[in-house]
């Protein structure tokens, strides 16, 4: 029993080390790509795949989440104080400093993470990754670096779109369900530059993590279609988990830096 537990721990430690190596290799791959002036067509293709193809999904999901959150908040407030004056101000602060990028990244972890892992996993089990190595191409440079750059840009862009939709959807819900004055709701008085800073840092951190975790899972796919399925599941779980942990770490760091002013 203890031996089995120890063996599992060693496997996890090895996987963590390998994931770290993929991260480092990806950063090195970006430097190599800049030096060798690699074609940018693949990055543009990935930006379209990660960004444009996720747009409707992000708008719909974050719009609904915005509606549900505002509705619940209004409902609770109406039971307790009935004062909606702080609702919009607190809502936008919460969206910008946390929920906007985090919920957007959680959605992207499922759609983009699964897609990356399935594509790279299929290439792995059909020996296309070996063929890349035979062609003198490092698989990380060809498969992960373009997705990494594309995800970095598009996660930030989608987070901006998602957060905006969430805020607007919340405002409309408050107006039509509880009669909250839009001028009162769409008040940015409590929003500070540090909240915007957290938004950017979180969106970039999530954008950098999802393709690396998903690509790593894809490259570990073994066997046949079952292995690709396993890799896809692991990618969704792994990247969602990474987003939550990063959210906690960045929020805790911000609290440490800004203290009560956050």
């Amino acid at each position: 029993m203890i031996a089995r537990l120890g063996s599992a721990m060693i496997d996890y430690a090895k996987a963590a080390r390998d994931l770290w190596l993929v991260y480092v290799s990806t950063i090195a791959g970006i430097v190599r790509a800049r030096r060798s002036r690699s074609p940018r067509g693949e990055v543009a293709r990935q930006m379209f795949s990660i960004g444009n193809r996720s747009l409707v999904f992000i708008i719909v999901t974050l719009g609904f989440i915005g509606m549900v959150m505002t509705y619940e908040a209004c409902l609770q407030l109406s039971h307790v104080t009935g004062d909606f004056s702080q609702l919009g101000m607190q809502f936008i602060r919460l969206i910008v400093s946390d929920f906007g990028p985090t919920l957007c990244a959680m959605m992207l972890a499922t759609r983009v993470g699964a897609g990356i892992a399935a594509e790279i996993g299929s290439m792995k089990v059909t020996e296309q990754v070996d063929a890349l190595r035979m062609s003198g191409v490092l698989p990380i440079d060809y498969l992960i670096v373009p997705r990494f750059i594309a995800s970095l840009v598009m996660t930030l862009a989608l987070s901006v779109v998602g957060a905006t939709v969430m805020y607007l959807a919340g405002g409309l819900t408050a107006k039509f369900s509880f009669g909250v004055n839009p001028n009162l709701f769409f008040d940015l008085e409590l929003l500070r530059l540090r909240h915007v800073g957290m938004f950017v840092v979180k969106a970039l951190a999530y954008g950098a993590t999802i393709p690396v975790v998903a690509g790593f899972c894809g490259l570990r796919a073994r066997g046949s279609s079952e292995g690709v399925g396993w890799a896809t599941t692991a990618a969704v779980i792994g990247s969602s988990f990474a987003v939550i942990v990063l959210d906690f770490v960045i929020s805790a760091a911000a609290l440490f830096i800004f203290g009560g002013d956050l």
Binding site: R133, M134, S135, G136
Partner: protein, 252 residues
């Protein structure tokens, strides 16, 4: 004769499953050697170990007088220019045309511009009678055509040794014999060919020598005629394709 490619007491296991258990095999320059054996016996593993696509647990692998089993990835790039591989599933990149698939290799290994690499790639495709399909995508072609294009890609760098992993598996008999003919034509140009195969017409029609891999070691190494005349019951069961006999076939 001195060995050009050699496996010396090579061991390889995947988890608790040992595949190669001290494999010894020497291949001479310019010969066509077929590696045969039951599924999962380690034939593909053996050739991937030579290229560093997998790492051996123990033993040594030599190519042209140099040990290659411990080379770092950067050094392996040089080896892979001299030893090419045609994979079982052709492994052409779906998002590229045939010409772009071949050109990728030329751009990376010979540092050619995209335009020059494409021109060179068309010439290579012509050698396998695929020039007319240079601008087509792999998904638009038959298995046999994809396999020929994959061979063109492998030959693009002018390798000294070509490893074929089941080149005729899944092909119709006519396409399969055309691939055999291509292997033979390559041998005439002095290229050493190591072919993993299950296909008896290929094995006995093309091979100079045949190595039968069984239980992780080379059980027999002989010319086709010698192998046919072998009195080893394991050899006879395999080459005659009999279900009953002394061979242990895990899973059956």
């Amino acid at each position: 004769m001195t060995a050009y490619v050699e496996w010396k007491s090579v061991y390889k296991a995947f988890g608790d499953n040992p595949v190669l258990r001290g494999m010894d095999l020497a291949v001479t320059k310019g010969e066509v050697l077929y590696i045969i054996g039951t599924s999962g016996v380690g034939k593909s593993v053996a050739i991937k170990l030579l290229l560093g696509l997998l790492r051996a647990d123990a033993g040594e692998i030599w190519f042209d007088g140099a040990r290659v089993d411990q080379l770092p990835e950067r050094e392996l790039a040089k080896l892979r220019r001299r030893v090419g591989m045609v994979f079982q599933s052709s492994t052409l990149f779906d998002s590229m045309t045939l010409a772009e698939n071949v050109a990728l290799l030329l751009r990376k290994h010979h540092a050619l511009s995209q335009a020059k690499a494409i021109t060179e790639a068309r010439t290579r495709l012509e050698q396998v009678y695929m020039a007319d399909y240079a601008d087509r995508y792999p998904a638009e072609l038959s298995d046999g055509m994809r396999k020929r294009a994959a061979i063109a890609r492998t030959l693009a760098l002018g390798p000294d040794v070509v490893l074929f992993d089941e080149p005729t598996t899944g092909l119709d008999p006519v396409s399969a014999r055309r691939i055999d003919q291509l292997v033979r034509e390559l041998a005439k140009t002095g290229i050493t060919a190591i072919v993993v195969s299950h296909d008896p017409p290929s094995i006995f029609g093309v091979a100079d020598r045949i190595a039968l891999l069984y239980q992780g070691v080379v059980r027999a190494l002989a010319t086709p005629a010698e192998l046919e005349a072998s009195t080893d019951p394991v050899v006879q069961q395999f080459i005659r394709g009999r279900s009953a006999g002394p061979m242990e076939t895990p899973g059956f």
